[in-house]
């Protein structure tokens, strides 16, 4: 069963920063990048709890979650977000953006994070990474 659109349905992304970190320059830029790429960004911003993100994904029927991390806390916070979403029965990819040292990339991916975007990622890379992550999840079944 396909829906009425001839192209892929519009992507809705929840963007959030977990924990105390107050650096929001990056996440605001990503929000604009994704908007410019035609996506709908549900912008939660700073100091969000796992619960807030889960609630947003549920009610907004979001296709992906983007987390912005600058405080070396990615190894603790991101996997917990992945788990919280899984526990709520939500199949959405979690994409981590920000400062992730090279040696943490593999271990982080193993915890279930769908993709990692470094500080040098271009606007195209950011948008494409989101599209690819969403396509993986959407593609695994005939119904969107």
């Amino acid at each position: 069963m396909s829906d009425a659109s001839t192209s892929d349905p519009q992507i809705r992304v929840v963007l959030a920063k977990l924990g105390f970190d107050g650096h929001d320059r990056g996440i605001k830029i990503v929000a604009r990048i994704l908007r410019d790429a035609g996506m709908e960004v549900i912008f939660l911003g700073l100091r969000q709890s796992y619960k807030n993100v889960v609630n947003a994904v549920e009610q907004e029927d979001a296709d992906a979650v983007g987390l912005s991390m600058h405080n070396a806390s990615h190894m603790t916070l991101a996997p917990k977000m992945v788990d919280a979403l899984a526990e709520a029965g939500l199949e959405v990819p979690v994409i981590v953006g920000g400062i992730v040292p090279d040696e943490d990339i593999d271990p982080l991916m193993k915890t279930g994070v769908a993709a990692i975007l470094g500080p040098g990622a271009s606007a195209e890379e950011v948008a494409q990474t989101v599209r690819d992550a969403v396509a993986v999840v959407r593609g695994s079944s005939p119904q969107a």
Partner: protein, 327 residues
């Protein structure tokens, strides 16, 4: 357990059972006018008709989101299970949108409140079609009241706020609002005016300007929709001051229009408008197909004649109009 592959009726049952994820998915179907949307619409229609629908609209910067948040907080404290549909403009260039209203309300809303962000261009069929469908869904799954919050810049957003049972227009000092209110037809639509940021200088002037305009329209015989003169409430959304008074005014309005039959009349109009909007949308897409030469024969020749200036647009339209019955 995944919702994927589940028939819409099953998802609907889950939503009725309180599963918010399911409700979120159903709203997506309606927004996108997906194949499932018709089934969902029927299921919702059977159960809807109870909720009080409140439209809140105002210019950017009027503080209406904060105000909606305060309202929702009050509703939660009063034990109501409210829903908010926050409508924000999409970028006309890219079709994308940044929807930031949710987070303003989340901190004050009770855990029971359902909040959904909608972009003006986020879906097939147009906003005027999607919103009634989403409202009906929220109604059917037991949310009451339902608040539709829109930015009153575009005519469409203004109209949507106007489809509510009670329409609240938010103005603020220093934004030339009284002029704006007149322009977008907000004066006719408003059932209640809120002057927010009442602590700022100029707030009293806005109130006075609104009073004046209401007096004038009364004198000139312009019909208010209910024959009732809209109240003007002063609020300071940041502190919550005036929010209880606003809610009281909304309740008073609802009581009044229930008593005088206006509520029923509005709902009937709303439904008939929806039928009309759907027909128009359908017609529009058929006309587009026709003009693209993809449905009827002979159309291309008519358009070529217009391009060659041997046939006037008026004559061309008359010719093609005769063929509309064939579409």
């Amino acid at each position: 357990m995944s919702l994927r592959g589940l028939p819409p009726a099953d998802i609907f049952d889950k939503a009725l059972g309180g599963e918010r994820r399911a409700l979120g998915r159903l709203i997506t179907f309606v927004e996108r006018d997906a194949a499932e949307a018709e089934t969902v619409a029927e299921l919702a229609h059977e159960r809807a008709g109870n909720a009080h629908v409140i439209g809140i609209t105002g210019a950017p910067g009027s503080g209406k989101s904060t105000l909606t948040g305060q309202l929702v907080k009050l509703l939660g404290e009063a034990g109501k299970r409210a829903a908010v549909l926050a409508v924000d403009p999409s970028s006309p260039l890219t079709g994308g949108a940044i929807l930031g209203d949710r987070v303003r309300m989340e901190d004050v809303a009770s855990p029971d409140t359902f909040i959904r962000s909608m972009a003006t261009r986020g879906h097939q069929g147009g906003l005027s079609l999607a919103v009634p469908g989403v409202v009906r869904l929220l109604d059917a799954t037991g949310y009451d009241p339902i608040v539709i919050e829109t930015v009153g810049v575009g005519q469409v957003e203004v109209d949507i706020a106007g489809t509510a049972d009670t329409t609240v227009v938010v103005a603020t000092p220093g934004m030339g609002d009284s002029v704006q209110a007149n322009k977008a037809g907000l004066l006719e639509l408003a059932d209640l005016f809120v002057v927010n940021k009442a602590d700022r200088p100029g707030a009293k002037d806005v109130r006075r300007d609104l009073d004046l305009m209401l007096d004038l329209s009364h004198v000139s015989g312009q019909d208010q929709r209910t024959g009732m003169r809209p109240e003007i409430i002063m609020t300071t959304a940041l502190s919550g001051e005036g929010a209880p008074e606003m809610w009281d005014a909304i309740e008073r309005h609802r009581t009044a229009i229930t008593a005088n039959g206006q509520l029923e009349a509005r709902r009937v109009n709303r439904d008939i408008d929806e039928v009309r909007n759907r027909l128009m949308a359908d017609l529009e897409s058929r006309v587009d197909l026709m003009l693209a030469g993809q449905s009827l024969a002979g159309v291309a020749e008519v358009l070529d004649a217009v391009a060659a200036r041997s046939l006037s647009p008026t004559a061309a339209a008359t010719q093609l109009a005769a063929r509309i019955k064939d579409l």
